[in-house]
């Protein structure tokens, strides 16, 4: 039985050599492979192993602060909290979401929706609740142990300290969309989830406000858990500070004066073009744009009849109506067609050919000179003057005052308005019998009706030119740009003259003085703009009541009601401020717009001269302000 066990029947050494050779070959294979991996490809694998463990996260910068001329903050940043999920740390996503939804008292479907909306590498956290409330954050943090993979992150979010104050000036931000992300000028700078200015100064000054992104590199392990920071760190640099020409208090007075109405107010420093207040109503709270805006909210803002997002001060045009008489007066004096003593008789109507033009006072003003004509806003005086000037000279003077073209304010797409001319009509109605200018069309233009239109800002610039000796300034909103710590001034903006009226100062003074009687004269149409007597500050101004529809088709409907306009400057001898107000469908300018302007003027002088409004003269419409 043991025989075969004892003897060795084969040639042993030979067999063993075959086996040794086989072993050698196999080990050579492994060694060759190691040589290939470690020596030939070693460098590339070394690089891969570095990338494997190194993560770079960019740190969004805080957006630049926007403040008023006295450094009162208008747009700042507040800390916001996101509740987020690290997919790699969660084993049961559905169960975790159910639990989280239960804790936060929200629907699990919403959280699922948020989760599935986001893609990208698994190590990037998924934001489940954006800008969570303090209570939600506390609930999550107190149950942290039962919620593995759920964490809270914080980041700066835009905050508009004064809510809707100057909303149309400051504008708003939005999360960047896909189309913008691939725009060539944006590429490389913005990332998904970033915000950019979409409206107002936030938009036009985006490059200054955005700041510079920081980079944070750190080591992670295979589970993408941060192990340690690397030395390759760049701090995010917050955006620059934008200092505005806006005065918060005057702006607030303007916003309040417009509350519940629709219309616009512009307040300028006539000698520089600085905008002290620019208000458009109805307005909106830009803070709602920092969160997730529902479709309904967006539609209500952008498409509603109220046109909340439209900046009426620069984007809406109105017939300047009787305000236009101011500039016509200057044209008449300068062209030598009238002197300040020239009188015309107003019977309450004026006929050109077979057409009759009514004065707003149907029984007539009697004999009126320029000052009286402006003071009582006699239409007939200006029908006659307009006819003498002719449409093209009216156009020339209107253009000199900056009407009919954009003022150059860098804010939003500006409306240019229109002062008709023969040339305009030829172009507009080219090839039709309508292309000729008929003399019977001139009287409407002379009183700022017909096709004549201007933005409130244009009217304020024109009025400024009248009272500053004849210079058209480009209106501006940003006084200076400062580094985020406020230490270095990066840019400052000086007043910019656009053009000169080239009109004799004497003539401007005569009209300016005449406008004082609009507010302070016995028969003046703008008496409601008078400031408290105790202040001893006189106001010059001009009322305007622009027709929305022709008088014979006018009904009682609100949208058929006239727009009320008032342009004012004060003190009337040496104006420091020009204010223009338009109240849409407000009715008569002297009644609806003049008190609104007065409120802004009051705010200005209360601040600049440390005055206070005596209670005795409080007007009934102040009560709600």
């Amino acid at each position: 039985m043991y025989s075969s066990y004892e003897k060795i029947p084969i040639q042993l050494p030979q067999r063993i050599y075959v086996f040794l050779l086989a072993l050698l070959c196999a080990f050579f294979l492994i060694a060759a492979r190691l040589w290939y991996l470690q020596v030939i490809k070693g460098g590339s694998f070394a690089e891969q192993s570095k990338n494997n463990r190194q993560r770079t996260v960019s740190v969004p910068p805080a957006r630049g602060i926007i403040r008023d001329r006295n450094q009162v903050p208008l747009a700042t940043n507040r800390p916001a909290f996101n509740i987020q999920m690290y997919l790699q740390e969660v084993t049961e996503v559905d169960a975790t979401i159910e639990h989280l939804a239960d804790i936060l008292d929200v629907s699990p479907d919403d959280l699922h929706h948020q989760l599935h909306k986001q893609g990208g590498p698994r190590f990037r956290p998924r934001v489940l609740v954006r800008d969570a409330t303090r209570e939600q954050v506390e609930r999550v943090l107190s149950r942290r142990l039962s919620l593995p993979g759920i964490s809270v992150s914080h980041y700066p979010i835009r905050f508009y300290n004064e809510a809707s104050l100057a909303a149309h000036v400051i504008g708003h931000i939005r999360e960047i969309n896909k189309a913008e992300l691939i725009q060539p000028d944006f590429r490389g700078y913005y990332q998904r989830g970033d915000v950019i200015g979409k409206y107002g100064l936030e938009d036009t000054w985006e490059l200054y406000l955005q700041g510079r992104r920081g980079r944070n590199s750190f080591l992670v392990n295979a589970h993408s858990v941060k192990i340690q920071d690397l030395s390759d760190q760049t701090k995010a640099i917050p955006g620059n500070i934008l200092q505005l020409t806006i005065d918060r208090d005057i702006q607030q007075a303007a916003d309040r004066a417009l509350s519940g109405k629709s219309g616009a107010i512009v307040a300028l420093v006539p000698q520089t073009g600085e905008i002290l207040a620019l208000s458009s109503a109805p307005n909106f709270d830009p803070n709602i744009f920092t969160g997730e805006l529902t479709k309904a909210q967006w539609e209500a803002l952008s498409q509603g009849k109220e046109r909340k997002l439209s900046n009426r001060a620069v984007q809406s045009v109105y017939p300047p109506a009787s305000l236009f008489k101011t500039f016509l007066g200057v044209a008449g004096l300068e062209e030598g067609l009238i002197t300040k003593k020239t009188t015309e008789y107003c019977p309450g109507y004026h006929t050109v050919g077979d057409r009759t033009f009514r004065c707003h006072k149907h029984d007539g003003h009697g004999a009126v000179n320029l000052e009286m004509a402006l003071s009582v806003s006699c239409d007939v005086f200006f029908y006659i003057l307009g006819q003498r000037l002719g449409i093209d000279r009216i156009h020339e003077y209107g253009s000199k005052f900056g009407l009919g073209k954009a003022t150059g304010l860098e804010l939003v797409q500006e409306a240019s308005g229109l002062i008709p001319s023969t040339e305009w009509k030829q172009k507009r109605y080219a090839g039709t019998p309508e292309s000729r200018w008929f003399p019977g069309e001139t009287p409407s233009v002379a009183i700022g009706q017909g096709a004549t239109s201007a933005t409130p800002l244009q009217l304020a610039v024109a009025m400024s030119a009248l009272v500053n000796g004849g210079t058209i300034y480009r209106p501006y909103l940003v006084q200076g740009v400062y580094s985020h710590d406020g230490k270095t001034e990066k840019d400052s903006f000086r007043p910019k003259m656009l053009s000169q009226l080239n009109v004799e100062k004497k003539h401007l003074m005569q009209v300016q003085n005449a406008l004082k009687s609009v507010v302070h004269g016995k028969r003046g149409t703008g008496k409601l703009a008078q400031l408290p007597k105790e202040w001893n500050i006189s106001v010059g101004g001009k009322t305007g009541t622009s027709q929305v529809v022709s008088l014979h088709s006018k009904t009682e409907k609100r949208e058929h009601e006239h727009h009320a306009l008032f342009a004012a400057f004060a003190p009337s001898e040496a104006p420091e401020i020009v204010v223009v107000a338009v109240i849409e469908h407000g009715g008569s300018g002297g009644i609806a717009a003049a008190p609104v302007v007065r409120q802004v003027l009051e705010a200005f002088f209360v601040k600049s001269r440390a005055l206070s409004v005596p209670p005795a003269v409080r007007h009934p419409e102040d009560v709600n302000t």
Partner: protein
């Protein structure tokens, strides 16, 4: 008696023992790096260690060493006599695993026997070596090379446990048993026609296996091997990360305890199946050549010393041991460097784990026993 022990110890192959001792020591150092955790601190006199596993592995190592000497002292005559008994009882345990075993990582491999956790598939390897060596030495081929008919019994001895192990399922161990059988039979030699037939049969068998026997995870692993980048986060992850670790070691390595792939846990199973990635990352190509050389020397030494065995049985046992160790080393390294599928075989003598270490030392002990000289224990 003392003289007898002296003769025995003197006749032991101490070069082999040194080779087989040095690898686990290196393994312990690599294991320390692979399981390094700054949060853990063990004080040992003045030293502090930041790993649990090293101490456990050290225990396994010492116990295995003792086992090896005990096995080495068993006379081959006894192993021969009880070879089929060992085989049968291992097979019995293996079958009981299918019923009573506990499941871990999706397969049923472990048997809990109160005081000890046994992996009968490991015992089976030794059982197959012994039983096959016994059968082959008793029934040598009539004209020097095996014919198909003559191979029926040996094939049964090998295939029976393989099928049971495949049921667990544990492809790696099943294949290693196949490798043991193949190396022993091929060592004696088979007819060319048989080789030819076998290659056709195995092709068909492979196809059948792929269609009916392989689990989806195993298929995926094989497919992934050819294109790991197709699924970098899933089944290709291990291969990619292991290749990065090995490759990034470059010529000289990143230095001990400096392997970032290891430290940051990018290498899965870094203490067990992928321990060589850890070593190659930290010690580079040169270090890897040293390890490769040590394994080669070990296998050479085993083979060349087998000629000193007095019995054919002993030679065959040694060949089986060589086949087993070689298969493990080759498949493990092949998997780590990314040219063989991830089948989950540990690297003998270096990977963490008591079972594998014990089996290896046990089989080395068998190899030692066939060349050792005894007068008292010898049957003569």
């Amino acid at each position: 008696m003392i003289q007898e022990v002296k003769t025995f110890t003197k006749s032991l192959d101490w070069i082999l023992i040194m080779l087989v001792g040095i690898l686990p020591v290196i393994g312990l150092a690599v294991l320390y790096s692979a399981s390094f955790d700054p949060d853990i601190e063990h004080r040992f006199f003045f030293w502090s260690f930041n790993s649990h596993l090293v101490f456990r592995q050290l225990n396994y190592f010492l116990i295995s060493l003792v086992f090896m000497f005990i096995v080495a002292s068993i006379p081959p005559r006894l192993s021969y006599r009880f070879a089929h008994v060992a085989y049968a009882s291992a097979l019995l345990l293996l079958l009981s695993v299918l019923v009573y075993g506990t499941i871990s990582n999706g397969s049923r491999r472990w048997l809990h026997l109160g005081f000890i956790n046994l992996q009968p598939s490991e015992l089976m390897k030794v059982g197959v070596i012994l039983a096959l060596a016994r059968y082959l030495s008793r029934v040598p081929p009539k004209d020097g090379l095996y014919t198909c008919k003559e191979l029926f019994m040996p094939a049964c001895i090998v295939l029976l446990p393989m099928l049971v192990i495949l049921r667990q399922p544990d492809l790696g161990t099943a294949l290693s048993i196949g490798a043991i059988g193949a190396s022993m039979i091929l060592f004696i030699g088979v007819k060319r026609s048989v080789l030819f037939g076998l290659s056709i049969f195995s092709t068909i068998g492979g196809a059948v296996g792929w269609l009916w026997f392989l689990h989806p995870y195993q298929k995926k692993r094989i497919l992934t091997m050819f294109n790991p980048e197709a699924d970098p986060r899933g089944s290709g992850y291990q291969i990619i990360q292991s290749k990065i670790a090995v490759g990034s070691g470059e010529l000289f390595g990143k230095g001990y305890l400096e392997g970032s792939q290891t430290r940051l846990e990018f290498i899965p199973e870094r203490t067990t199946d992928f321990i060589f990635s850890v070593f190659a990352e930290e010690w580079g190509f040169l270090g890897s050549m040293v390890i490769l050389g040590l394994y080669l020397l070990l296998l050479f030494r085993l083979l060349t010393q087998s000629t000193k065995a007095k019995e054919y049985f002993g030679v065959l046992v040694t060949v089986g041991v060589v086949g087993m160790i070689f298969f493990h080393v080759f498949v493990n390294l092949g998997m780590v460097v990314g040219f063989l599928p991830v089948v989950g075989l540990p690297l003998p003598l270096m990977s963490y784990g008591g079972s594998s270490l014990m089996t290896t030392f046990f089989s080395i002990g068998l190899a030692l026993s066939v060349t050792a000289q005894r007068s008292v224990f010898s049957y003569r």
